[in-house]
Subunit: 107 residues, 2 copies
C-alpha cells in the first residue's frame, strides 16, 4: 500500500505548511525556509520526504532547486478517502433492491 508514505508525509504540520506554501507557485528551498520556525536543512529533509511521497516535484536551475506541488499525490489520497463511502452507497442500493423485490416495488 503506497498510501502510507502520503499519509505519513501529510501528518506532519511543518510539511503541510511547506505544501501550502507551494500552492501558488514553485519555490526554492531558501524561499520556503524563510519565515519558518525550523532551520533550512530541516526544510530540506521535509522536502525529501514529500518528494518520496510523490507530493512535490523538483526542477534544478543553476544552484537553485524549484519545488512545486504534485497534485496527483494528493489526488491519490482523495481516492482512498472515497473508498469509505462506496460501501454506504452499495449497502443502500442493496437495501432498496431488496425491498423492491420483496413487496413488488410499491415503494
Amino acid at each position: 500500500m503506497a498510501y502510507q508514505k502520503i499519509f505519513t508525509a501529510m501528518a506532519d504540520p511543518t510539511r503541510r505548511i511547506v505544501l501550502e506554501k507551494l500552492k501558488g507557485k514553485p519555490r526554492t528551498v531558501a524561499d520556503i525556509a524563510n519565515d519558518m520556525p525550523v532551520s533550512r536543512p530541516a526544510v530540506s529533509q521535509h522536502l525529501k520526504v514529500l518528494q518520496e511521497a510523490g507530493l512535490v516535484n523538483v526542477e534544478a536551475i543553476g544552484t537553485r532547486r524549484f519545488y512545486s506541488l504534485r497534485r496527483e499525490g494528493i489526488e491519490k489520497l482523495r481516492k482512498y478517502l472515497d473508498g469509505f463511502w462506496e460501501d454506504v452507497v452499495a449497502s443502500y442500493a442493496a437495501k432498496v433492491f431488496k425491498r423492491k423485490n420483496a413487496d413488488g416495488g410499491t415503494e
Copy 2:
C-alpha cells in the same frame, strides 16, 4: 487547525486497518482486535485516538462498546485536500479573464 488530529490518526497503518474494518458495520473492540497483529489494549488505545480525531463513534450496550465510522471526520480531510486545487482554478480563471480583456476575447 483541527486537521492535525485527523491526519495523525490516519497516518498509522494499524488505525487505518481499524477504520477499514468499520466500513461495513459497527463492531466491538474484541471483534476489531480479532485477527489483528496487536493486543486488545493496543486497539483500545487506537480507538481512543480515532475517537478524539472525530473519525469514530461509540455506543455502549451492556459491557460491550460498538464502534462505528464517523464519515464527517473523513469528509473534513477531503475538504482540506480540495483546498489544494482552488488556487489552480482561480489562477486559470484569472488568466483567461486577463486574456479576454487584453485582446478583446479572440481566444
